[in-house]
C-alpha cells in the first residue's frame, strides 16, 4: 500500500516538496552577493530568468546569448541563469519557484499571463520601479499597453507580437475559379471559398486542405478569437468582464464547426510534422499563418512560394487580427530590480526583438520597427506590423489562466458537434466570471 501511495502521490509530490524546499531555501532570490543600488559596472550576482519557447538548439541559445551580451554592456559582472521552458510548463516553473521562495528575477511570458501573475504576486509593478505608461505608449504599438496593466499599474512590457494572419495561395484561387485579387471579406465568403478550394481524392479524402486553422486538437482558441473579432465581438471588456458569450461569439464558433464538421474543408486538429502553417507549405490553399516567413531557398525557406501567398484581413463587421505576444516582467521579491529592468531592456533591443521574432514566429513590437529592414524584407512581417492596430487579444483578467485551461477543450465540444455554441459559451462565461 505504501508503494501504491508513493505512485499515487507522484502528481503532487513536486509541488509539496517545494514547501520543504522553502524552509531550506529561505526567502532568498537570485544568488551571489550583489548589492542593488551599487554601480552596475561593478555589480555582481546571478539574475535568474525564465523564458518560454526558447529552443535548446544552437539557434535558441545564440539568441539568448545575444540578449545577455547586450545586458552585459551595462552589468558586465552579473551572471544570468536562464530557465528555458515550453509555454505549457511555464506555470509549473513559476508556481514551484514561488513556493520554494526562489522566485525568478525576470519572468518572460505570454500576454495573457500578465494579470494573473500580477494577481498571484509573481511579478511586481513596473510603475513603482519608475516605468511610465506614457513612455511605453511611445515606444510600442499603443494597443499593447493595456494588456500590460493590472490595477492601474504597469506590470510588464511587450517584446514581440504574435499575430495569426490569414493567407491564401493565388495559384490555388485561380485553379478553383476564384479571383486571386479578391480575398474573402466576410466569414460567409471565407466558408464558401474554403469549400471550393478543398481538393479530395476519389474516396473523398482531403488531398489539399481548403482552409487550415493551424491548430492542434483542443487549441482552437486563437482562431475563435480571430473570427469573433471579425464579427465585431470581443473576448473581454476593457474592465475585464467576459464579453464573448454573444451572438458574434455564437456565429464565430458555429462557423468553425461548419467548416470542420459539415463542409470538411479542414481536418480537425491536423498539423504537418513540422507544425508549420499548411498554407505556407502549399498543403492548404488558405488558412492561418504566422507573421514570419522565410522566403529563402534554403532547407527552412519556402522560396518561390512566398510570391504565391497573399495576406489579408477579414472585414465582416470589423477588420481584426488576432494577436498574442511575448512580454517580460520583473519578478516579485527580486534583490536586483534595476538589473532585471536592464535585462528586460536588453530583450526590448531591436536586435533582440528581431531574433526573438524568428524564434517565436512573431514580429517586433516597437513603434519604429516598421521601417526596419527585418520587417520590410519579410512580406508576412510587413503585413502583420501594419495591422497591429487592428489587434484583438485573448487575455482577460486575473482568472485568465483558469479560464484558458478550459477554453480550448470546451471549444472542441462545439467543433466536434457534441454541444451547441450557446451552451459552451455560457459555460465558459461562468468560468470566466468566477
Amino acid at each position: 500500500m505504501v508503494k501504491v501511495m508513493q505512485r499515487g502521490l507522484k502528481a503532487v509530490t513536486a509541488a509539496a516538496l517545494t514547501v520543504a524546499m522553502a524552509a531550506l531555501a529561505g526567502c532568498s532570490s537570485g544568488g551571489g552577493d550583489a548589492q542593488e543600488g551599487q554601480d552596475p559596472a561593478t555589480a555582481t550576482g546571478t539574475l535568474r530568468v525564465v523564458v518560454p519557447n526558447f529552443p535548446a538548439d544552437n539557434e535558441g541559445q545564440a539568441v539568448f546569448r545575444g540578449i545577455v551580451d547586450i545586458f552585459h554592456k551595462t552589468y558586465p559582472q552579473m551572471k544570468v541563469e536562464p530557465d528555458f521552458v515550453p509555454y505549457d510548463n511555464l506555470n509549473e516553473k513559476i508556481s514551484t519557484s514561488l513556493a520554494a521562495g526562489k522566485n525568478y528575477d525576470v519572468v518572460s511570458a505570454g500576454i495573457g499571463w500578465v494579470q494573473p501573475l500580477a494577481d498571484l504576486g509573481a511579478i511586481q509593478s513596473l510603475t513603482k520601479l519608475g516605468i511610465k505608461t506614457e513612455d511605453l505608449e511611445k515606444s510600442v504599438y499603443p494597443a499593447f499597453v493595456s494588456p500590460m496593466k493590472y490595477d492601474g499599474d504597469l506590470y510588464a512590457v511587450p517584446i514581440v507580437a504574435n499575430p495569426r494572419l490569414l493567407a491564401y495561395s493565388k495559384s490555388a484561387f485561380t485553379e478553383a475559379g476564384l479571383d486571386p485579387a479578391k480575398p474573402p471579406q466576410s466569414l460567409a465568403e471565407l466558408r464558401a471559398d474554403a469549400k471550393k478550394l478543398t481538393k479530395r481524392d476519389a474516396k473523398g479524402q482531403i488531398t489539399r486542405t481548403g482552409f487550415d486553422f493551424w491548430a492542434p486538437a483542443s487549441n482552437y482558441r486563437q482562431q475563435f478569437v480571430a473570427f469573433l473579432g471579425a464579427k465585431g465581438g470581443e473576448m473581454f471588456t476593457p474592465d475585464g468582464q467576459p464579453a464573448f458569450d454573444s451572438q458574434q461569439g455564437i456565429d464565430a464558433l458555429q462557423l468553425i464547426h461548419d467548416m470542420v464538421a459539415v463542409d470538411k474543408s479542414s481536418t480537425y486538429g491536423y498539423q504537418n510534422s513540422a507544425k508549420t502553417a499548411l498554407v505556407t507549405t502549399g498543403e492548404a490553399a488558405m488558412g492561418f499563418a504566422g507573421p514570419y516567413v522565410d522566403c529563402t531557398t534554403g532547407p527552412e525557406g519556402i522560396g518561390a512560394k512566398c510570391k504565391d501567398l497573399v495576406y489579408f484581413n477579414l472585414k465582416d463587421a470589423k477588420e481584426a487580427v488576432y494577436v498574442g505576444g511575448r512580454v517580460a516582467a520583473v519578478g516579485d521579491g527580486t534583490k536586483y530590480p534595476q538589473a532585471a529592468l536592464a535585462f528586460i531592456k536588453a530583450m526590448q533591443d531591436q536586435k533582440s526583438q528581431e531574433a526573438i521574432s524568428k524564434l517565436d514566429v512573431g514580429v517586433p513590437i516597437s513603434s519604429t520597427a516598421g521601417d526596419s529592414a527585418f520587417v520590410k524584407s519579410n512580406p508576412a512581417g510587413a503585413f502583420a506590423w501594419k495591422n497591429l492596430d487592428k489587434a484583438i487579444f485573448e487575455y482577460g483578467g486575473a482568472t485568465f489562466l483558469d479560464f484558458r485551461a478550459k477554453f480550448g477543450p470546451s471549444l472542441d465540444e462545439v467543433i466536434l458537434g457534441r454541444k451547441s455554441p450557446q451552451d459552451v459559451l455560457k459555460e465558459l462565461d461562468t468560468v470566466a466570471r468566477k
Binding site: Q6, A16, V19, S95, G101, G269
Partner: protein, 313 residues
C-alpha cells in the same frame, strides 16, 4: 539432597536472567542493526512519501494557488469536485482506461509468458523484444505511436487503407482517442507483467505438472488446477501494480493528446496537473489527488477480496 534440590533451581534461576539478558542483548543488537539498515529507506520514505502525502492532504483543505500559500477552507474543494463535470469525466476516463487495460494486459502477458516458457527457438530474443517497451522512455514510445496514429501518413491509416477501410482520426476523434491510447498502454505494460509471470511460471514445481500429466489431466486441466493456483500471489502483485500504474498514466496523455480532443482522454493525473499547474489551484488539485488515492485503495482492496474468495473456494 534437600540442599541440592533447593540449590539447583536457585542456580538455574540465576543462570536464566543471564541467558535472558544475553538473548535480549543479541535481540537488541539485531534490532539496532535492523533499524540502521532501514534508516536510509525510512528517511527517504518520510521525506519523499510521508511529508508530501501529509502536505497533499493538508493542501486539499486550503484554497492555495501555489504550495505554501492559501487559507483553510474545510471541505469546499471536495464539495466543488463532486460538482465538477471535468473531474467526473476524468474519473470516468481513468476507470475506463483501468478496466480496459489492466485485465487485457494481464491476460495477454500471461499468454505471452506461457508461450515464452516453452522451449521454442529464439526464446531469449523474444523475451528481450517483449521487454524493450518497458525500458523505453514513454516519451519516445509516445512519439512512435504519434507517427503510427498520424491521420495523413501514419501506419495505422495505411493498414486501414490496405483493407479498403476509411481513415481514422486516431487521436483527434473523441470516440477513438481513448481506446487508441489503451492499445498503447496495453502494449507498453506487457513486458513488465510478462517477466513477472515468467518468473512465477518457472517457480512452479515441474513435479506437480508431471504428476498431473501422469494422472491423465489434459493440458487445460493441468493449467487450471496446477499452474493457475500457483500463480495466485503473482496475480495479486500484478493486479496491484497494474491498477496503480494505470491510474498514474500521465506522460502518454501529455505527449500525445494533452487530454483532448474535447477532454475525451483527460484522465485524473492529467486533470490534477492541469489544475495544479495550468489553472494554478494546487489546493483543488490536492483534493483530487486524495480522492484518486482512495479510489486506488478501493480497487486494490476489491482485487484482494476477489482473490481471497477464490482461495477460499
Amino acid at each position: 539432597m534437600t540442599t541440592q534440590v533447593l540449590e539447583q533451581p536457585t542456580a538455574q534461576a540465576a543462570a536464566e536472567p543471564r541467558r535472558s539478558r544475553r538473548r535480549n542483548g543479541v535481540e537488541r543488537a539485531k534490532a539496532r542493526a535492523g533499524w540502521m539498515l532501514l534508516t536510509p529507506a525510512l528517511v527517504h520514505s518520510v521525506i519523499f512519501i510521508a511529508i508530501p502525502g501529509v502536505m497533499a492532504v493538508y493542501l486539499s483543505f486550503t484554497n492555495a494557488r501555489v504550495a505554501g500559500q492559501g487559507a483553510w477552507i474545510g471541505l469546499k474543494n471536495y464539495l466543488d469536485l463532486f460538482q465538477d463535470a471535468q473531474f467526473a469525466n476524468a474519473l470516468k476516463n481513468t476507470l475506463l482506461y483501468t478496466i480496459a487495460v489492466v485485465p487485457v494486459a494481464m491476460a495477454l502477458s500471461l499468454a505471452v509468458a506461457i508461450g515464452l516458457n516453452q522451449k521454442i527457438p529464439g526464446r531469449a530474443l523474444f523475451r528481450t523484444l517483449f521487454y524493450i517497451p518497458v525500458v523505453t522512455s514513454t516519451v519516445a514510445v509516445a512519439a512512435v505511436w504519434l507517427w503510427i496514429y498520424n491521420p495523413a501518413a501514419g501506419l495505422g491509416n495505411q493498414v486501414l487503407a490496405f483493407f479498403g477501410l476509411a481513415r481514422s482520426g486516431w487521436l483527434t476523434d473523441p470516440g477513438v482517442a481513448l481506446p487508441a491510447l489503451m492499445v498503447v498502454g496495453i502494449w507498453q505494460g506487457l513486458g513488465a507483467k510478462m517477466i513477472i509471470y515468467l518468473a512465477a511460471l518457472q517457480s512452479i514445481s515441474p513435479d506437480l505438472i508431471e504428476a498431473a500429466t501422469l494422472d491423465g489431466a489434459s493440458r487445460w486441466q493441468t493449467f487450471w488446477n496446477v499452474t493457475w493456483p500457483g500463480l495466485a500471489p503473482v496475480h495479486f502483485f500484478v493486479l496491484v501494480t497494474s491498477i496503480a500504474s494505470s491510474f498514474q498514466v500521465f506522460d502518454l496523455i501529455y505527449v500525445t493528446t494533452g487530454g483532448g480532443p474535447a477532454n475525451s482522454t483527460n484522465v485524473l493525473t492529467f486533470d490534477i496537473f492541469t489544475n495544479a499547474f495550468e489553472r494554478l489551484h494546487i489546493g483543488y488539485a490536492s483534493a483530487e489527488t486524495v480522492i484518486m488515492l482512495v479510489f486506488v485503495g478501493v480497487l486494490i482492496s476489491l482485487g484482494r477480496l476477489s482473490l481471497r474468495n477464490r482461495e477460499d473456494l
